[in-house]
């Protein structure tokens, strides 16, 4: 075991010291003398969240399979340790070697949500790496600091954080890292500078090096153009996709944390992408086309991963598990495999129907579990607008079946502030919840009601338009509008006959507004993020550490108008900050979908009828299903 980076006095003082000592089962320790490249892989949030993320485990496994690479993990120190590290000037370290991140070749940060942006600055700052890429050059060819790479869904609009990164990897990590690492080795061997390496990297597919691009703005604040600053740097960058996801990197031995983390189980990613095309959903667009993993591979991995981790639970992961074509076969296999060994199976994101209820009845304690529906909008009209193909009939039928089967708890998820939403649509949220309760009282006779009544929990979040969705042009509500909608929902529920059976929760509005700015922001937002960070903002995703006042001050100081990024309706002709990226679906398709949304017309899913989104250019997945020989 390497010497711990933190002395006992610190580890005994902070909450959960196990976050900082490494040494977990399946953590990879290599001889640093025998590798050429060292990578610190970072999830900029607390250990328990970061350790629950599948993408990091996939890349960690991939990098460590490369003999010349040692990849380690690093997470955000919790606020207690953050303070100590600043006071005592202790550099942030990677868990496995306990050595400073600053001495690594790469710091690769996965960016899963906008509200972690200040934590990215925390990571850089605690690592003693200059926050801005341009300040990392300097002496020795500029190799004094690791190359800072960003990846993950937020890089589909990297602009607000562009100046903090040397490079962004756009798309799925399985495909191009080897090339990038080889290029790095080559550049180091031949004594080239950091800048020269980045220049060459910018020419690899999927790589975006912000420093080689310049943005010009119009008088009205919108983008005039974004151009490469040098010849040979590509004007647009297409995302990377792993088309053969049954024969690629996937961890057979994921790291097993000592402390309880959010996702304390084996996670089996059964497919990537989603055929549904809900118009608010970014994941549904950027992971196109849908690719299923081979069921044989999944069975093999399930067995191996359970054996290698000792976890007592396995969870299937995908955006919409019910759409996986071999689901019955896989679930049967898991039930057989896991029953004897007392392993729990969890099946999130299932559509509620006879099949899923049957399966859930086998793998869960019905008394303790709840049914989840995500209608997202209260009325059918608005569900058509967002292309959520879930009808009231589906919901009531599913709920009825479930109540007969013994379920008594229902969770409902809605969004407020969707495009075209009216008061009527909001009232329908109350009505729908009420109808579900009514189904319970009609279906289940008094003497059979387990807890006496049905418990319905309706939750609303606020709609935030995201890049590369048909709603990327949509205005977003103000905080006041959001809150008004939440109060309207609350009173709509209060008016219902069965209101005693319905509980209502809503999300915080301040955070949603900020997330909206960060999601569709441009390069001018970077100053605000840095300023908020300097004012002490970190862990913005944690409501107890979110300081809206500090953020508002930061906007003020930077002279940035929030409304420009949130409430303003963008014209279809506007150059959007992320237009230089190509996420695989055509802008024309998104425009068509935006127009259809405003008309309230639905689009069938990929399997029912291809909508010609453009993702078939990748030559596989759902776009070519059932078409043999071509």
């Amino acid at each position: 075991m390497n010497k711990l980076a933190l002395k006992d006095e610190i580890l005994l003082k902070v909450e959960k010291p196990a976050r900082y000592i490494g040494n977990e089962v399946n953590a990879v320790v290599k001889d640093k003398g025998l590798v050429d490249i060292r990578i610190a892989m970072c999830f900029p949030d607390v250990y328990e969240i970061g350790m629950s993320h599948l993408g990091i485990q996939i890349l960690y496994d991939m990098f460590n399979r490369f003999e010349d690479v040692w990849c380690e993990r690093v997470y955000s120190p919790w606020v207690d340790l953050d303070k100590v590290m600043r006071e005592e000037n202790i550099p942030l370290f990677a868990l496995e070697s306990q050595e400073p991140v600053k001495d690594m070749d790469f710091l690769a940060i996965t960016i899963q949500y906008e509200m972690c942006y200040t934590n990215i600055l925390q990571i850089l700052d605690l690592s003693h790496i200059p926050l801005k890429a341009k300040d990392r050059e300097g002496q020795g060819g500029g190799w004094g600091y690791p190359v800072v790479i960003g990846g993950g869904p937020c890089v589909y609009n990297p602009e607000p954080i562009a100046e903090f990164f040397d490079l962004f990897y756009i798309g799925e990590g399985e495909t191009r890292y080897r090339e990038l690492l080889d290029l790095y080795k080559e550049c180091r061997r031949s004594g080239e500078s950091r800048k020269e390496f980045l220049r060459k990297a910018a020419k690899l597919p999927g790589m975006y090096v912000p420093m080689f691009y310049q943005v010009e703005y119009k008088e009205d604040g919108t983008i005039e153009k974004m151009e490469p600053t040098e010849d040979g740097i590509p004007k647009t960058i297409q995302k990377e996709v792993e088309m053969d996801i049954s024969d690629t990197y996937y961890p057979k031995k994921p790291v097993v944390p000592f402390i309880k983390v959010t996702q304390d189980r084996v996670v089996l990613e059964i497919q990537r992408g989603c055929i549904r095309g809900c118009r608010f959903c970014q994941a549904g667009q950027i992971y196109r086309p849908v690719r299923e993993r081979d069921v044989g591979m999944l069975k093999e991995y399930a067995v191996e991963m359970l054996k290698n981790t000792g976890h007592e639970e396995i969870s299937l992961s995908s955006l919409s598990s019910s759409d996986y074509s071999k689901l019955p076969e896989l679930v049967d296999f898991l039930i057989g495999e896991c029953g004897e060994r007392k392993i729990n199976i969890s099946l999130p994101s299932l559509r509620i129907d006879a099949f899923s209820l049957d399966v859930m009845g086998k793998v869960q304690d019905i008394k303790k579990s709840s049914l989840t529906f995500a209608p997202e909008a209260g009325s059918q009209r608005l569900r058509n607008v967002i292309n959520k193909g879930l009808t009231e009939e589906d919901i009531l039928k599913g709920a009825g079946l479930a109540f007969e089967g013994g379920w008594t708890r229902v969770k409902l998820y809605f969004m407020l502030g969707l495009p075209t939403e009216t008061e009527e649509d909001i009232k329908e949220i109350g009505a729908l919840a009420n109808k579900i309760a009514a189904v319970f009282y009609e279906t289940v006779p008094k003497e059979k009601r387990v807890n006496g009544k049905v418990q319905i929990v309706a939750s609303t979040s606020f709609f935030i338009p995201k890049p590369f969705t048909p709603f990327q042009w949509s205005p977003m509500c103000t905080k006041e509008e959001f809150l008004e909608k939440a109060y309207m929902t609350r009173s709509a529920i209060k008016e219902q006959l069965n209101q005693k059976s319905i509980k209502y929760n809503w999300h915080e509005a301040d955070i949603s507004v900020l997330e909206g700015v960060l999601a569709r922001g441009d390069r001018r937002i970077a100053g605000v993020i840095e300023s908020a960070y300097r004012k002490g903002c970190i862990y913005d995703a944690w409501s107890e550490y979110f300081h809206n006042d500090a953020w508002m001050e930061a906007f003020e100081e930077c002279g940035i108008d929030i409304g420009f990024y949130t409430t303003r309706e963008r014209s279809a002709e506007e150059t959007l900050p992320w237009d230089f990226l190509d996420c695989g679906v055509d802008k024309e398709f998104l425009k068509r979908e935006w127009e259809k949304a405003l008309e309230g017309t639905v689009s069938p899913n990929c399997r029912a009828r291809c909508q010609g989104c453009g993702a078939n250019r990748f030559g596989g997945g759902v776009c070519f299903e059932g078409r043999s020989g071509t």
Partner: protein
């Protein structure tokens, strides 16, 4: 069959708390492929009992847990399989079988032996060992013992079964055998605090480095104390 497992917890593992050690062993038993018995009911759990919880920051060469197994291929095989499922700092020291009706690990604990060392910069003043022994020689050692509800004065002398001290500077070490049963558990830090207080000083927060050397059960009859390590009551299989 009931099996008693003795393990060591050293190095970085001293920062893993008791509940997490329990979770660690549940997963380790699965990784090792031990045919462990489960409780009945909808959410079955492994039948497992730990001896005395070890505080965060302490290391140990004598921790114990009992599990119930349905089948096995001998103690040596089980020990090897478990040891392969460990991480650095966790080591399986012995695996023994318990007779039907033996009290479980937790109920068996009577005493624990500790060695106490001093972190760098916290070494006691010269001549400390003699003074500690003189302190221990007193008939009554009163301390304030804090429980969740109250703070009470109590005499801990009867709960300290043995105490020795030796060395100077970095080699200074105290060894003590104290009551570790659920009714009269004494922490070694409490004894050291009392000594510091008797010296007219406050024991600094991070001064001590404590190792539990072993955990003992009492096999004596008629009130005669006869302490043996917890695995001494088990047999090979």
């Amino acid at each position: 069959m009931k099996v008693r497992i003795k393990f060591a917890k050293t190095g970085a593992m001293r920062f893993i708390g008791h509940l997490d050690v329990m979770r660690f062993f549940q997963k380790a038993v699965r990784r090792a492929g031990i045919d462990v018995a489960y409780s009945e009911g909808f959410s079955p759990h492994q039948i497992m009992s730990f001896a005395a919880p070890l505080g965060v920051g302490l290391t140990s060469h004598g921790e114990y847990l009992d599990i119930e197994v349905r089948s096995h291929a001998g103690a040596e095989d089980m020990k090897q399989k478990l040891d392969r499922a460990m991480v650095e700092g966790m080591e399986i020291l012995s695996v023994t079988a318990l007779e039907e009706g033996t009290k479980n690990a937790m109920a068996s604990v009577a005493a624990a032996e500790y060695s106490v060392r001093f972190r760098q910069g916290y070494a006691p003043d010269p001549g400390w060992a003699d003074r500690l022994l003189a302190f221990y020689g007193k008939p009554v050692i009163m301390v304030k013992k804090k429980t969740k509800k109250s703070e009470a004065e109590m005499d801990i002398k009867p709960y300290i079964y043995q105490l020795s001290a030796s060395g100077e500077g970095d080699d200074a070490v105290v060894r003590m055998m104290v009551n570790a049963s659920s009714s009269g558990n004494i922490k070694p830090g409490l004894v050291m605090e009392a000594f510091w207080k008797a010296e007219g000083k406050e024991l600094p927060e991070f001064a001590l480095e404590i190792t539990r050397e072993d955990t003992y059960t009492d096999t004596g009859v008629d009130g005669d104390r006869h302490l043996v390590p917890l695995d001494a009551v088990g047999t090979g299989f």
